[in-house]
Amino acid sequence: MRIRLEPRPEPSRLAGWLSPLAAAAATLVVGFLLFSALGKNPWQAFHVFFVKPVATLYGLGELLLKAGPLMLCAVGLAAGYRANVWNIGAEGQLTMGAIFGGGVALAFHDSTSPLVLPAMIVAGALGGMAWAAIPAFLRTRFNANEILVSLMLVYVATYTLSLLVHGPWRDPEGFNFPQSKLFNDVALLPNLLPETRLNRGFLLALAAIAAGWVFMSKSLVGYQMRVAGLAPAAANYAGISATRTVWFGMLAGGACAGLAGVNEIAGPLGQLQPSVSPGYGFAAIIVAFVGRLHPLGILFASLLMSLLYLGGESAQMGLALPSAVTGLFQGALLFFLLASDVFINYRLRVLRSPRSPSASGRSPLPRAGR
């Protein structure tokens, strides 16, 4: 008996839908085994990890609060990934967006104008775009791999933020802590859901999802990006500029990540700190893939990822499990997704000896004459 992977005549749409669900299920199974191996009651652990965080209104607010930046970053990244533009530096672009937005907030710290917040948001988007422009430029002009450049820039951005909050932007009345002055009220996002920390930045994330959907499926540039990713040679022949594809893919990711950065500092953080994100930029990569690079899928995937974040925190308190378990689940989820994605283009065939007819495998046609 042999198991073989056979190419399908055409990609399976059913597998395309089932694959993220299968990956999520497999991740849950791994979680189950992991909790058992660590000596915890797996059902109780499941409850603490997945149910307890969202059992209250506050918990739901937290879920959406964390899902917002994930959605924003992932939608921007997905636009690029569809065109094979691999922006891995969303974390750095997010940081830069926070720096730019925070800079505006600090510059107008004594102002009470309602224009401060919009200015911050625009500055944040521009900051993220500027940071993403570097790998775009180096790729189009110098053929440098954008994965490596954008990733190196994450480290540079993090050090830049550290430099600023330890030095020129440190709060003089902050007891020497490396953090900026607390932003005053005009620089903070208004609350969206009372009794929770959810702010209006979430609306920005939803708008990005809608914009992403419209752009990808209805606009000409979105169409061109998809073609560039699926068939680069055909795109080139059709006159779709590869340069413009790279620039657009990177800038979209950068702008969205920058917006997410501003959302963080104008929302839950309220100031600039050495770390403005628990890895949202990297988690967004996983969200983009699990969401099938489609805005609606990204919406659901970001809710799942947000739950993983909350679960990690909850497990830390309720189960004495390390919060690093979140990173483990996130990585495992992506792995399982890639593995189950295989079945979109290939199918499993179990070959038995010629005497008994092949009963398994997903061949829809009866085998004739064997």
């Binding site: 110098f142 996130q330 792995f335």
Partner: protein, 306 residues
């Protein structure tokens, strides 16, 4: 003069994790597989090496454990990309993210533990010779291992038949397959070797260079190693040169203070990453050279009969 010798020894020591990881990745890429998971494999190797060294009080066992851990993680990657034919770029990213998470998780109990790591050699008499003493006899044992690794890989790839086969598989897997070579199995071995070397690089960091464990302690060296392979246009001796160059840049953080240079520490810390970007841009500029030197099938999945 002695100060220069000291600096050179430190530079070599700082570049050694890059040497291990980049040489391993070079072999993997020579067979046509692009494994972006080097950072994850290094971290997993580091945490495994530290954990085993702390538990068994034997740093060499730790090094062996680090190699095994790196290889084991790369096996997951190999199965997904070689047998299940998933996208190599996405799978490599997944490997890195997973390795970072796994190592952070496994390493928690070891965060403030101190171990007796591998120290640089100190042979009485020989190591005290002026200038050459330290330079020839004062390195960490793993640094000598890295020299051996370089020689072995250079010899294997360019002077042996199996090495030729590996390169052939990387240039044209279809032709190699037609001749009858087991392309998938060769790629598996290349990936595992690369994983073991990355694990070794991580083990060196955690057991020899700075004997401690901190979450994310490789600080992006895995990614720099990937850039190094491109920078070296897939030639082992250039990998060595590049690794030591970067080692030197990394050292600048500490040397600048000694030299009295007034720069914020964060700017100095940024230097290796900025240097990587600059170097990558400069070397990639010549697309023809890259195309000539890169293994022709790099990153493309191999399906017999396609």
């Amino acid at each position: 003069m002695d100060h220069i010798a000291e600096l050179l020894v430190l530079t070599l020591a700082a570049g050694t994790p890059l040497v291990f990881a980049a040489l391993g990745e070079l072999v993997t890429e020579k067979s046509g597989v692009l494994n972006l998971g080097v950072e994850g494999m290094m971290l997993v190797g580091a945490v495994a090496a530290f954990a085993v060294a702390a538990t068994t009080r034997n740093p060499w066992l730790g090094v062996a454990a680090g190699m095994l851990a790196g290889a084991a993680l790369s096996l997951v990657f190999a199965v997904i990309t070689l047998s299940l034919m998933a996208n190599q770029v996405a799978s490599g990213l997944a490997l890195s993210l997973f390795g970072v998470g796994l190592s952070a998780f496994v390493g928690l109990p070891y965060v403030s533990i101190v171990i007796d790591g591998l120290k640089p050699l100190s042979i009485s008499g020989l190591s005290d010779l002026p200038l050459v003493g330290k330079l020839l006899f004062g390195h960490n044992p793993l640094v000598y291992l890295s020299f051996l690794l370089f020689v072995a890989i250079q010899w294997f790839l360019y002077r042996t038949r199996p090495g030729l086969v590996v390169r052939a598989v990387g240039e044209s897997p279809q032709s190699a397959h037609a001749i009858g070579y087991p392309v998938v199995r060769i790629r598996y071995l290349a990936v595992l070797f690369g994983g073991a070397c990355s694990g070794l690089g991580g083990a060196y960091l955690a057991v020899a260079y700075t004997p401690l464990w901190v979450e994310g302690m490789t600080a992006g060296r895995g990614w720099i190693a990937l850039a190094l392979v491109v920078f070296a246009t897939w030639k082992p001796w250039r990998v060595l040169a590049g690794a030591y160059l970067f080692g030197g840049v990394t050292l600048a953080q500490f040397q600048a203070q000694a030299l009295g240079v007034e720069m914020p520490s964060q700017v100095l810390s940024m230097l290796p990453y900025l240097a990587t970007i600059v170097v990558l841009a400069l070397i990639s500029r010549d697309a023809i050279t890259i195309r000539l030197n890169a293994p022709a099938s790099l990153g493309k999945p191999f399906h017999p009969g396609s």
